[in-house]
Each structure stands twice: as C-alpha cells, then as structure tokens.
Symmetry: C2
Subunit: 351 residues, 2 copies
DNA sequence: GTGAAAGCGCTAACAA
DNA sequence: TTGTTAGCGCTTTCAC
C-alpha cells in the first residue's frame, strides 16, 4: 500500500502539500496539484482512514443503537440512516442494545475509544442514565422515537395526532364502539398514541376505560390483548392498535374466532411496516415517515458535530417546548407528520 | 482523555510496559502489573482503538454486505453475525450492496482504507469480478448464500435437499399435482431448490415442465407467478415456493380467488422467516438455520484472519468438492442442514 | 523484566 | 505557496 509519503516523493513535493491537496485545505498551485494528481493515479494511492482518524481525532463514523433489529420497523430506519450517512461519506456501526453495552463496556466508552462522531439511539431499552452519561460527556446524540431529559435532540412522529386521525377514520366509516390495544406506558410513543385515542373517545357515551387493553408491542402482545378485549367487550366494532404488530396479532385472533374484518370489526394499526400490506385483509394504518426520520437523524447528528447538511426536511416540524429551557439553543424535538393509510381492514362497511 | 503515556507516568513505568500489560504480551512482573492496574483505574484510562488500529494495521472490525436489509431474512442473519462478532470484540459495519460500492469506491478499497479484517458477503447482486478482486487482494471473505469461483469459503443451506424434503412432505399429505414457484436461475439457492423439486417429481406421470413458474423472490413475484400458474394449471393441489416471500404472495392470490389453503391447495415455502408464522394460515416451510449461518460466517472469517474460534458448529457439514482443487487447503463450502416446519398451510387433507 | 525509540500514515502549525 | 516537523496514541523491536 503506497502512503502519502510515496506520493510526495514521486510528485517531488512534501507530504504536507499532498495532504493539503487531498483535503482541499490551504493553497496548492495549479501545477503542483497536477503533479500530485498524477502521482496518486500512478501509485493508486488511497488515503488511510485509520491514520486520518488518529490525526483528526475522528473517524467519520457513527453508531446506531437499536433495540431489536428483527422488528421490521428498524431495518427500515437503518436503511434510511445508512443511505444518508453514505451521502456524508460516513460509516455506520450497528449496535444491538441488548447484546452490546452492558457486556463489553459502556456506549460512551466505545464511542470515545473509536473516535466516533456520535450515536443515533432508537432503543427504548437503554436507561436514561446511560443517555445522561453520554450527554454529560458531550457526545453528539440524536434520539429517535424515545424521549429523554431535555437538551438531546429528539425525532419522533406526531403520535398523538396520528392516533386521533386513526380514531376519527374509524368513526368516519361508521364505527360506534372503538377499542384500543395499547403498548407499555413506559414507551413514550405508545403512551402518546393512547392519549390521542382518549382525546377522541373519552367524551363519547359508549366509552369505558376497559376498552383500553394493554400489552407488548408485538404480534403476541396483540393477540393476548385482543383475547382480553373480546372477553370484556364482545360487541366492539373497531380496534385501534398501538402499532402494526399488535394489529396483526389482533387480526389473527379475530380470524380464528370467525370475526370478519372489516365487516364485523374494523382494524387499524400504526407505523406502516411492510407487513401491513401483506396480511389479509391488508391493514389500514398510520404511516410514519421512516425515511425522513432516518435522514433527519443523520443530519442533526452531523450538523451538530461538524458537517454541513445538504437538504431541508419539509416534513419535519421542529417544535418549541415552552417548558424546555434548552430550546433557546434551537428546537430539540422534531415531530414528523403522519398520515392515515386506508386499506381493506377499514373498508367502509355497508350494514 | 488520559493516554497510555499518562498511565505510564503515574505508574512510574514506561509506556512499553503498560502496553505489554494491556495486551498480555511479554513479561510484566507481578508488582509492576499491580502498579499499572492501579494507575489505569485511577485515571479511568481507556485504550484508544483507532491508535491501536494504526499501529496494528487492523481495526478489529468487519464489513457485512447485504443486498436488501428490508428483506426479513437479512436482519436475522445480521443479528446472528453481530452477536458473534460481539463475542470476538469485533465491530460490524453494515453496507448496503445497492447504495454503497459503485458510488464511493470499491469494497476492496474501503476495506483496505479502514483496516478492516474482511467481509461477509450475502449479496447476490455483487458481481463476480468484484469478488475476484477482493480475493486477489487477499482480503478475507466469507460468502453466505451465494456462490463464487472456488477458494472463497461459502456458507449455505442444503437447498436441494430441502426442496426434496418439502416436495416429499407435500406428497406425504396426499398431494398429487405439485407446482413450483421458482426464483431467478441466476441466484444459486433458487436454482438448487428448483433442482431439488425436479429430483422428486420429474419421473411422475403428472409432471409437466409448465408446472414450474419463475418469478422474483418477493411477495409480488410470488403473486405474479401464482396467477400464471393457475392460468395454466387450475387443478394443482400443492405448491412449493422457492422462498417464503413468494409463498406469501401465492397465499394472497389463492385467497383472493377463493381457493382454500390447505384444503384445495397445500402450500410450502423456504427460509422460515418470521413472517411465515404470521400469515393466515400459518405457512409451512423449510427452515434454514440463520443463526448458525451467521455465527459460522464470523468464525470462518476471523479464523482465517487471526482470532481463535470458541465453539464447534455441529450443524455445519463441510463438504469436499472433488472438482475443487483448493479443497486441499480445507473445505470451502459449508452446507447447513435444513428441516421442514409443518404448519397449517400443509395440514393433512381429509378429502 | 523493563525502557528508549522508531514507527503506523496522516494532519497542521509554523517557517521559509 | 510549499516544506519541516512535531504530534495523534499505541505497538514493537532491541538493548540493557
């Protein structure tokens, strides 16, 4: 492997000049540049990223910390992040919240040791104090779909609003008793969606708190919650699930019981994972713009740490939180618009 | 950030000694070790990975090149790889075959520039000559589910055998006219599965080549292929699909047409992606041991490049290929056992 | 057993 | 504009 030194020698200049040429920093005369260029080509020189990393104290790479890569939402997010990082010329390290950290060492440590530029955290199963530590050490951070003490930039969807849209959609097609399969209260998006549901139905005559059934945000969780729901309220005619996986679980249970969707019970989920369009009947849902979330996450992270972003995000709605003192330094919570996707599971009923 | 120098100073020894202590190389007396230890603790010293990378000419990281991270098979594989890499203390860079490479620069270049230890390639959409180049440069490589010129270690399932098992299973439950939805012939596993199907049915009186319908290995591909199949052979009573996604596509089409599964048509896929257990009816399939594939890939890669593996892989069946001259240096193709998973889509029919 | 010193390949003052 | 040189933080001979 030729080094910058070889290039310098062949071009008859100093390594400093080659370095300047390479990084477009400082002055390099036209002719010198050409000589350097020629030498680089002749030697097939490739600057060594690790050496630059050492010298610059940064490696042009970021970490993405995910809770569970096999949950279909995250590959989508990862893909978006990866593509955007690629545009900046950055590498992406994928860390599994469960298997990493605790084991080898803390995230802060891993990030420092490797001169990473920061981390995108989408894992709700990382403790708040771990986040606090990272922030205390001034490690650039962006949180996706999880909250934290103020100051850390956060990206998430308009969960509450999305839930309201979903419920209104169910009402619009004629639903008269709408239940909600809710996720763990400890997971913010789940809590927000629950609240959105409440916003819409609390005042209705038919509403009863027992129409809300909690469970894990998984297919199994959705199945269990639906069983419980049907035991209590055999007469529901619509269900809003906290996410698509739960909705799919609900679908399975309804199907087994011979309850038709959407004729007997209309069903809507949240996220719009690819699976939603695959099940039968196809699942209506509230779409989160994963791709925007991923791109924005990278932009925010790298903007903070150094690079210049290249695009605007029209879908992003940076909001000021009046109770957040840090907002003086710019908004720290970005909420993205969501939209209802109507599919067969909420096809207007003809009764 | 304290450096090794600070540690040395505080401990009253030289940096060389600290380094030796850190890497368990060379002799360090009991007492010296204790002093160093104390200094490290006192300073909260964390060795810098990038600097070690430079000095060692290796960064303890590998690249994983995937064709499409949103295809549910790959997150599973990635997870397994990630967990195993973690055990070795290695980092994983995830590269998307489509978006990377061509763009920035070649894989070979990226791997060298970053002192990576090698790459696991699961992308069938990487050209053979790209692989050849990597190998020519002696970059450690392991291929998963894709073939290549000999010499490069390859991991895959017993696709042909699995296909035979699937078809035999269909026969065992009473199927009398079995069709096959096959993937692109250019993708090796797809070709092997097709061959396995042929092995079992070619001699049957009911067999006709038109029972094989090609398509993409996706849900859409499965749908299209099924449409075509039904047009030709409305009387098929069983379908073996080249992978689960295609099978799910078939399921959708059959469902729309009012054809019952498994009563009218039995259906079996291949891979056992999580989705298979989610659709209705649940999909029978041939299971590939993704987790073993991932672990083995990491082991082979790192064994070649340096580290010592820690476990055996009982499911792995290294096979010698008599026509492969390189097998003198050890087997280069590992075929993993597969098993039929019986679910509702092939429940024995009572006619 | 331990330390001095020369790298690993590149960047960035500071001079010239 | 360009070159000299001192790092970046760690590893590794090679003496002692």
């Amino acid at each position: 492997m030729p080094t910058i030194r070889d290039v310098a020698r062949l071009a008859g200049v100093s390594v400093a000049t080659v370095s300047r040429y390479l990084n477009h920093k400082g002055y390099v005369s036209r002719e010198t540049a050409e000589k350097v260029e020629a030498a680089i080509r002749a030697l097939k020189f490739e600057p060594n990223e690790v050496a630059r990393g050492l010298a610059n104290q940064k490696l042009n790479a970021i970490a993405v910390i995910l809770p569970d890569i096999t949950n279909p939402f995250f590959p989508e997010l990862l893909k978006a992040i990866d593509e955007q990082a690629e545009r900046y010329g950055y590498n992406v390290l994928v860390w599994n919240a469960r298997s990493h950290a605790s084991k080898r060492s803390s995230y802060a440590r891993m990030i420092r040791q490797q001169y990473l530029d920061g981390a995108i955290i989408a894992a709700h199963d990382i403790a708040e104090d771990e986040i606090a530590r990272l922030q205390a050490e001034a490690i650039p951070l962006v949180l996706v779909d999880r909250p934290s003490a103020h100051g850390v930039p956060q990206i998430r969807s308009r969960n509450r609003e999305g839930a309201r849209l979903a419920v209104r959609h169910l009402m619009a097609i004629g639903a008269e008793k709408i239940a909600h399969l809710s996720g763990p209260a400890s997971i913010l998006p789940a809590a927000e969606r629950r609240q959105g549901y409440l916003d819409e139905v609390e005042a209705r005559p038919w509403f009863a708190p027992s129409l809300i059934v909690g469970g894990e945000l998984s297919i199994e969780g959705g199945m269990a919650a639906t069983e419980a729901l049907l035991a209590r309220h055999p007469d529901v005619d619509a269900i809003f699930a906290a996410n698509d996986l739960m909705a799919i679980g609900a679908l399975k249970v309804l199907h087994r019981r011979g309850i038709r969707v959407p004729e007997d019970v209309a069903l809507i989920g949240f996220d719009d994972i690819p699976l939603a369009a695959v099940v039968e009947p196809e699942l209506s849902t509230v779409r989160q713009p994963v791709d925007v979330m991923g791109r924005l996450a990278v932009d925010l992270l790298l903007r903070r740490s150094n690079a210049r972003p290249k695009k605007k995000h029209p879908a992003a709605q940076p909001i000021e939180r009046p109770d957040d003192p840090s907002s003086a330094a710019g908004p720290s919570v970005y909420e993205l618009e969501v939209t209802v996707i109507e599919r067969a599971s909420t096809l207007r009923k003809n009764r």
